[in-house]
């Protein structure tokens, strides 16, 4: 026993250290992924007997208008959420100065990320609320008729995304602020001697050095956009008449909400959402792997 250990200690130790984490990861992430895939082939209400129905859930999904509404909204989320990256960079650059009291301003800008998404959602629903909301009053004052953003299928998704962008921009800003701290002053100095300033300085000198920060910012923004469940649930509950649904909310609605309990159908939606996320995740992993093997 101990001879075996002595001979193989170096080979075994990393695996032993990895074991607890790997076990948890397998138990709570890997296995459930395959379980959902499995459940998605059943018709099951979570209580009674599950019946194997093959790909019927997927066939139904393809024919379901709500699925396309959710998919479309997910795309809108992904595209518009990306605004958080340039806007966060803008604010970070703006705040990256040495002025008296700058720390206070920085923490004020960071504040929305600290408060819970539920609170953000509530604040924005009051902001948009008909009859007393600030935004509603502003629109009413400037155009004559108020618009209840969260009750109008044309604006509702954009209204929720605006609420989501507020904390997301703060998050990206913090990422860039730490990135800006690491920008090499000698390179900036050298660029200045060569006459670079303004946009050229930003584009050719600062941004390349911020690439790691940009990468992380894009990753967290994509993930944030795809799991945009809490704001939808708090602000509209998917409404009006389901027009602000996103895939994660649609899945919850079908599988776990008061009128749902179609576990198989919910699992099928989860599998589709997982497939979409997989595209991005493999993209990110591929990029990371390429960056590391270049070194």
């Amino acid at each position: 026993m101990s001879a075996f250990w002595k001979a193989n200690q170096r080979r075994l130790a990393p695996w032993l250290f990895l074991a607890p984490g790997a076990l948890m990861f397998a138990l709570y992430v890997i296995i459930p992924i395959f379980q959902s895939l499995w459940i998605s082939f059943y018709d099951w209400d979570g209580l009674g007997k599950a019946t194997w129905i093959g790909t019927a859930n997927y066939v139904e999904l393809v024919d379901d208008d709500s699925f396309y509404t959710s998919l479309k909204n997910n795309v809108i989320w992904l595209v518009l959420y990306m605004l958080a990256v340039p806007l966060g960079l803008l604010i970070a650059i703006f705040l990256n100065q040495t002025v008296w009291g700058m720390r206070v301003y920085k923490s004020l800008f960071f504040f929305p990320f600290v408060i819970s998404q539920v609170v953000v959602g509530l604040m924005f629903s009051w902001f948009y609320a008909p009859d007393f909301g600030l935004f509603y009053k502003l629109i009413e004052w400037s155009t004559g008729t108020g618009v209840a953003v969260l009750a109008d299928e044309r604006f509702v998704t954009y209204g929720i995304i605006a609420a989501g962008l507020w904390p997301q921009i703060a998050y990206v800003m913090i990422l860039y602020l730490t990135g800006l701290n690491n920008v090499a002053p000698d390179q900036v100095e050298a660029a200045r001697l060569d006459g670079a300033k303004g946009w050229k300085m930003l584009w050719y000198v600062i941004l390349p050095q911020l690439r790691p920060a940009t990468f992380i910012a894009v990753v967290v923004t994509v993930i944030g956009a795809l799991r945009s469940f809490d704001l939808v649930s708090i602000m509209t509950d998917g409404g009006p008449y389901g027009s602000s649904r996103v895939l994660s909310f649609f899945m919850y609605e079908q599988a776990l909400s008061e009128y749902g309990y179609r576990m198989g159908y919910g699992a099928a939606i989860a599998v589709v959402l997982f497939a979409i996320m997989m595209i991005f995740i493999s993209g990110f992993i591929w990029k990371m792997w390429r960056d590391e093997s270049e070194r």
Binding site: D45, G46, L47, G48, K49, E60, D65, Y128, A129, P130, D131, A148, V149, L150, A151, E153, T236, D237, G239, P240, Y241, G242, E253, L256, E258, Y259, G260, Y261, R262
Partner: protein, 410 residues
């Protein structure tokens, strides 16, 4: 080793003996979802029951009302109590068909409940058997602001045509004729249910929610044709507000009528309305001569299949069904007893009006989301909301509902 075994046996025996000293009190575990006021009322009822049955100890675990709807699915299969709260009608069907509730027809027969709880009997029956005992229900109807009626110079309507005609007057006075808050979807279904019950009658409405009638049927369109008459006079932003916000509109006199359940009275009175300016009317007749059916969602208690102490749980159900217990409980709840021999507080005009309206009703519907299966209910209520916002989409909505119907009831 042998000695160890002996010792263990001795300890076991000692434990058993001390156990038997306490075993005189049998435990009934009860999982419930009461808000604070109903909780106090039920605790009082349990105290009465324990006083009458000193050998039974009812242990109630109270859940948050919304969380309960999810929790019940877990505890029924994992850690089953002896009694559990739920709702009548199709809402209990999933638990009945999956064998999670046990049949209590014997409790009904032994205690003469088929007669005493006659009005609620149909909604507790699946496959000719009873699956629980109802302890309270409440009426729906139209709550209205008398001050708003005065401001618009409108008279309290006697017929549907008068009700619709009034809307024009309210509009001229800048008041919403009908208010509702459909953010949570269900308030809109209350309006649909009444229009459906009044246009085509109880049997037709029950057939519709049971999936026997196509949503593209002409008679469904007739219901929506009636709805279209008041749709333009409904609060404009109803899809963005909750039912409490709509109640605020009624309190402020910005809206005149509100189709709601009796629980709205508490909110309206908190907002400052009194018995003088708050009125209640039964939803007016639309198709002349139809027997009047009403909406009365019923709250119930069931015995889960995994119950340990079924005998005492049945005793408790029988006790909850008695006229006296229901009188006391519902006086505290501010709702209506399901036992016809119970009495209601005469000094509350809304309770008395509701009791009169329900006890003289031809039949009682539960509510759209309790009469129709969950998936149909959800799709239906979304359709009602969309219709209220965009009545021009009606045909597309009905096509979609028909598609859902064919999927849900196979």
């Amino acid at each position: 080793m042998v000695q160890m075994k002996h010792r263990a046996l001795a300890v076991m025996a000692a434990l058993l003996m001390t156990g038997s000293a306490y075993a005189e009190q049998r435990v009934v575990k009860y999982n419930a979802d009461f808000d604070p006021i109903p909780l106090a009322a039920m605790e009082a009822l349990i105290a009465d029951f324990e006083a009458a049955n000193p050998d039974i100890d009812v242990q109630m675990t109270n859940f948050d009302h919304e969380g309960y709807k999810t929790a019940i699915r877990n505890f029924l299969t994992a850690d089953s109590p002896d009694l559990a709260n739920w709702y009548a009608g199709n809402r209990m069907a999933p638990f009945v068909t999956s064998g999670q509730f046990i049949e209590v027809t014997d409790v009904w027969e032994a205690n003469g409940l088929n007669d005493a709880l006659g009005s609620a009997a149909a909604s507790m029956t699946i496959d000719g058997k009873k699956w629980g005992v109802p302890y309270t229900y409440y009426q729906w109807g139209i709550y209205f602001n008398r001050d708003a009626y005065k401001a618009a110079g409108a008279e309290e309507p006697k017929t549907w045509d008068e009700f619709v005609a009034n809307c024009e007057k309210f509009k001229a006075a800048g008041i919403d004729c009908v208010t509702t808050g459909t953010k949570a979807l269900w308030p809109g279904a209350g309006i649909f249910d009444y229009l459906s019950l009044r246009t085509n009658g109880y049997e037709w409405h029950m057939d519709l929610t049971a999936g026997k009638i196509a949503w593209t049927d002409q008679k469904v369109k007739d219901v929506f044709a009636q709805w279209a008459k008041i749709q333009p006079y409904t609060s404009a932003n109803h899809a963005a507000i909750d039912w409490q916000d709509a109640a605020a509109l009624l309190v402020q006199g910005k809206a005149a009528n509100y189709v709601m359940g009796n629980f709205v009275v508490g909110v309206l009175k908190e907002g400052g309305m009194t018995n003088d300016n708050l009125g209640f009317m039964v939803f007016p007749e639309i198709t002349p001569g139809l027997p009047r059916a009403e909406e009365a969602p019923t709250d119930t208690i069931h015995i889960p299949a995994g119950a340990q102490n079924v005998d005492d749980a049945k005793k408790f159900l029988a006790f909850v069904a008695t006229a006296d217990a229901q009188t006391k409980l519902n006086t505290a709840l501010g709702q209506l007893p399901t036992n016809k021999n119970s009495t209601v507080a005469a000094d509350d005009p809304f309770i008395s009006a509701g009791f009169a309206s329900l006890s003289s009703a031809y039949a009682l519907a539960q509510f759209f989301d309790r009469d129709a299966p969950a998936e149909m209910a959800k799709a239906g209520m979304e359709g009602f909301q969309e219709f209220l916002v965009k009545p021009e989409n009606l045909d597309a909505i009905l096509e979609r509902l028909e598609k859902t119907r064919q999927k849900v009831y196979q």
